[in-house]
Structure formats: C-alpha cells, structure tokens
Amino acid sequence: MINNRTNYTIQESPHFEIFSEDQKEQIFNGMMRTLQYTGANVHHEGAREVFKKAGCKIDGIRVYFPPEVILKALSTVPPVTEVFPWDGDESKKIVVEKKRSYFGPGPTPPNFIDTETLERRPYLRKDASLVARVCDALPNMGYVQSLGSISDVTNGLADVYEFADMVRNTTTPIMSWSFTREGCRDIHRMGIAMAGGEEAFRARPNYIFYGEPISPLVSDFHAIDKCIYCAENRIPQVYSPCAIGGGTVPATHAGQLVVALSESMVGVIAAQLINPGTCVIIGGVQSILDMRFSIYSYGAPELSLLSAALTEVVHYCGLPMYSTSGCTDTKKMDVQSAMEASLSINAAMMSGANFVHDNGYTESGLTGDIFQTVMDDEIISMARVVERGVEVNEETMAVEQINNVGPGGHYLYEDHTMKWFRSHWMPSLMDRNSYESWEEQGRKTMKDRVLEKTRDLINNYEGPRDKVPGKADEEIKRILQEAEERIKKEEPKKQA
C-alpha cells in the first residue's frame, strides 16, 4: 500500500523529559563554571602534565579547566561505538549511542546472597562464574558485571580473577574494573586473547572498563591512571562517580547534577586529550544520603529522578550515560526490592540511558543478590513493552477486522489475531493463574518462582564455557599466573 499521508508526525514510544533545552544548558554551564573556578583534584602528575599542556591552570594537585578545553574534548567524543561479544553472536552486540539502553548487574559489593542458604556471606570466586552464566541466559541483561568483589583469592587480584572466570562463562560483553593499571592491563590482555589478537581486539573490542573518581571532585591516582590506559588502548570505558546528595554533593538535585557532571568530565577530558575519539561513558550512581541512617540510598525515588535528569544532561553533552536501576535498600530480594526496582527500571528505560547498572544490588549496594537480578530481568522486559510503544497504521488499526467482527462478536478466530497476539508480552515469573491452579501448583509466591527459575539456570544452563578456544583458555591461565607473580613482587614494596 502506498503511504499517501503528508506532513504527518509519527511518535510511537513515550516521550519522557525532565528538562527543557534551556535548563540542560544551564546545568551544563554550571559544570563549566565549576571546572573553571573550583577545578578538581587530580592525584596524578602525568595527567596534570597532560592537562597543563592542553591549557589548564594547575595549582598543586588542583586542576582548573577553562571552557575551551572542555568544549574541545567534547568535540572529539564518538557519536557511536560498538562492543562485540567474543563469539561473534550479532544478537549480543552492543551499540553505544543515544537512546539505546542496555541493562546489567553492578560491580564490587563485598557480600553475596548465597544461592543455596539464602544467607549473606562474603563474595567468593565461584560466584563470579555463576553470575556470568546466569546473566548469559537472561534475555534482558545486555551486558554483565559481577555483583561482587572476590574475597577468596590473593588480595589485590579479585579484579583479574573475576574477569578471567566471567569472560569464559558468558558471551555477553562484560563491564570489568580493576584496582590499578596493572590489573587493567591483565584484563586487556585477556580481552585480546578472547578476541584472537591485538588487531582483532582493536577492531572489535569485547568488553568495557569501569572506573570511578571520588566525589566530590577528586580523581585519585589509580582512577585517572586506568582512564589513561584505557584511552591509550581504545578500550571503551566508564568514568563516573557515586555522588551522595547532601553528603558529597549539594542536597539540591540541580547542584548534585552539576558536581556529578564535573567529576566525570575530568575523565572525559583526560581520555580525549590522550586519544581523541575514544569512548567514554559517564553518569554514575546518583542518589541521596538518608539523613536518619547515614546510608547512601539505592531505593530512593530520588535515584530514579536524578538518574533520568543526569541522562538528559549527559546526552546534551553528546556522551553516553551510565545509569542505575533495579537496586534496593532492603537486605534481600523481597516486596520492597520489587517496588524500588520497578520504579527505577521504568524511569531508566524511559530516560534512554545507555548502560543501566546495579540490577541485583541489595543492602544499599553492599550485597549482590542474583535472585534480584533475575526478578529485575522480568521487570526490564515489562518496561521494554511500554517503551516499544504503539504502532499506528492501517494494519494495526484493523478497521476492516472491526467491521468483519461487528458489534457483539469476538476476535479469537480472526487471522489478524493469530498474526498479532504473539506480540503481547508473556511473563516468565508473574502469576496470572486462576486461584485453583495456583493452589494446585503449591501456592507459590514471587520469591518461590524467582528461586526456582534462578536455581534451574544455575543447575542446568551450561553457558559458553565449552566454546572458549583452547588457546585463549591457556593464555588466560598464563595471565593469572603472571598476575600472582606480580603481586608477590608488589607486596614487599608496599610494606617498605
């Protein structure tokens, strides 16, 4: 059919906006004023040299960034970057560009909810491959993080072991982290091993690196050192703070956005000066300090609002956004965590943030709970339905079918229904049973069903472990061995 509509506007999915262009510009300018007049502390002589050469004013460890340096950096950020699963599966490819959202777990909580006992305990090495394998099977986890920091390997190597184990248990691109440049390099070498060589990795990077400045306005040595390493090697990277409203940043949301944006911008400028065109994602956890319990709230509605607001400002800068959702202040997956996660996932989805992390964080970011991740996976798929919107055309309006059926009929026999009903969302966890069947099947609660689904994946889903090329597997083992030797050498130095 010829489409003969003219001057016709199409809007199929919800438009969700917090700010006007003027307000985004105002916050952007607030960042410019902050970096110019307050500056940021950079605990890295090499980085300060780079900033100085670019025209920044340096005073001790303080760096002041004039507007032209910031604008120049923003002029070289790439509009689009691709990240590839190591097995070449195009369906898991990540395209980092405006208005594409990928959800995933988060990095480094010290604790984990044991999948057998359901008790909180320190995060163990075996958990990293478990999380990778479960997330590999979850259709709505677009990228993977570990949900913990391994406690039972050589101190200082949790980062390297985590990546080594995860990358062999999922083809979904990983977002890794490290303590220092050395760990960052080891992970890079493993990425290269999985890609099949340095050239192959450059053409098809298979992971993203996560780094974090300290709020307010401090880039510690390792944070900026790793940022430089990633820029030099063209590894897509996140550089984003955890800004604590009323604690490390102003209690007012606009003030928080200004500081959070400024903190990240230091990494963007460093990376673009080192290697123009390299991918830097910014944003971070944005929430408030609960002034009763002095905890950083991961379930606060302000997290949803601030994250969506920052997404708009970050996109205004032409940068991809690292946002937050699916997390909770309660201790384990429960009704509270479902409520908090539903709100934050929907807000993040509507905002169009690029990477949305912390799906599966409980206890205000101190515990990883894979059961929460599995429940979040379902919430994400629901939010996607809303985001997919409503298609309006002759076929979907179905005026002809309406006429065929007429008043008082039904649509169950219609070919049109046969063709379209499968586009309806189908739950994997939500209960829509009759009371009788629900009773017959053991009166299962949401918690029961999440436990069942998760444990089924843990026990029966094998993941890609067998597909890992033998050569890459050997190389990873060698890198781990060398990392052990490196730490042995570093330890005496630290003592001295």
Partner: protein, 215 residues
C-alpha cells in the same frame, strides 16, 4: 549563685555554634563549676540530641551541627576541667589507612566523637601505618579509629594493629574500625576491639565498651 544550665543544653540542641561558645565563656566568668557546665549543661544536651536522632526526630546535618557546637564549647571548657570530669571521653586518634582517599565516613565519625566530648585528632586520609603508631605514642589516646572503603586497603588496618603490638602499646588503646566493606567478622579477624557499622553508632559502641571495662 546558681545558674540554669538547661539554657546551655538548649543552645546546644539548637546547634548554635557561635552562640554556645559565647554562652560557655560567659558562664565560666560566673562562679559555676566547669564540671557542672559539662555534666549539667552540655552532656544532657547531647543526650537529648542522641535520643531525638534515634527517634527519627533529628537528622544527620542537625546532629553534626550540634556536635560541632559541643566541640567548640569543649575547646573552651577543657583547660578548666578537673581530672575525672570527662569520664571516659578522652582523646581519640582517627584516620583513613594508606592507599585510601575516602574521608566522608571517617569525618562523620570524628565529628560524632567530638560531639560526645572526645578530643579528636583527625590525622587525615591515606595515612601510612607508622603514622597511626606515632600518633598513638604521642597523644596516648583511649581510642584509635581507622576506616577503609576499599577491599585492597582493608588489610592495612590489621597491619596497624600488629605494629601497635610490636611497639608494645597495643593494650593502651581500644581500636575501633569501620568503612562500608568492613564487617564485624573482619574486625575480629584482625584483632580490633570494636566495629561500628556506621558513623552514627560508633560513639555508643565505644561508650558501651568503656563502661563495661570500668565495671
């Protein structure tokens, strides 16, 4: 002359830092016993603050303002106090261990201890082990507080405790540790005396410890 010391409590509870300093100075000019200013004015004020905080009636920024007011008054009062007036609230050394630049939790704890009447010596962030030992030797505190936010820097706290042992001064000081990834088990493992899950509870935990010790 008797004076209504509840005015001092009220000033403290209102978080008026300068006003409380002035009132403390003026009261000292009268013949009121400095120990009474502390025990009938300031400490009851802080008790009320603590209670109202626990009841959800006062919040962190307000409590910190009161703690700051308390600390300012104590600076004026301390030289005038007799031995024993302060009870268990002595000197405290607090810092973040080497390799760690995180200071907000540690600073919150420091302010809370100041609010409880402690003389707090905050040695700052990224402090090498020997600086903790040196500070303990120099100031002879009753309490040493250490904090870490990174799992890589947590072991430094155990090292400091070992250094205290090697220097033969471990028994002189109670060690309290904290920081987001730090747990009670970890505190036990490295031989710390006390563990505080957050800045707000640290003072009560220390208080309880000293009370138990003195009975």
């Amino acid at each position: 002359m008797s004076m209504d010391l509840s005015k001092i409590s009220e000033k403290l509870i209102s978080g008026d830092v300068e006003g409380l300093k002035q009132m403390t100075e003026e009261t000292l000019q009268t013949d009121v016993n400095p120990g009474d200013i502390l025990n009938q004015g300031l400490l009851p004020g802080m008790d009320t603050v603590g209670q109202r905080w626990k009841d959800g009636d006062m919040f962190m920024p307000e409590v910190l303002r009161c703690a700051k007011a308390m600390s300012g008054a104590m600076d004026i009062l301390r030289p005038q106090l007799a031995e024993g007036d302060l009870g268990n609230a002595g000197t405290m050394i607090i810092g973040t261990v080497a390799g760690d630049l995180h200071d907000i939790g540690k600073d919150l704890a420091a302010m809370m201890f100041e609010g409880a009447g402690y003389q707090v010596i905050n040695i700052g962030i990224d402090q090498p082990n020997e600086n903790f030992v040196k500070a303990v030797k120099e100031h002879k505190p009753s309490l040493l507080g250490m904090s870490a936010l990174l799992t890589t820097t947590m072991p430094r706290m155990g090292e400091v405790i070992n250094s205290l042992k090697e220097s033969g001064i471990r028994d002189q000081v109670a060690v309290i540790i904290g920081g987001a990834p730090v747990t009670e088990e970890f505190a036990e493992e490295i031989g710390a005396d006390l563990y505080a899950p957050n800045a707000g509870s640290a003072v009560d935990i220390a208080k309880e410890h000293f009370e138990k010790k003195s009975t």
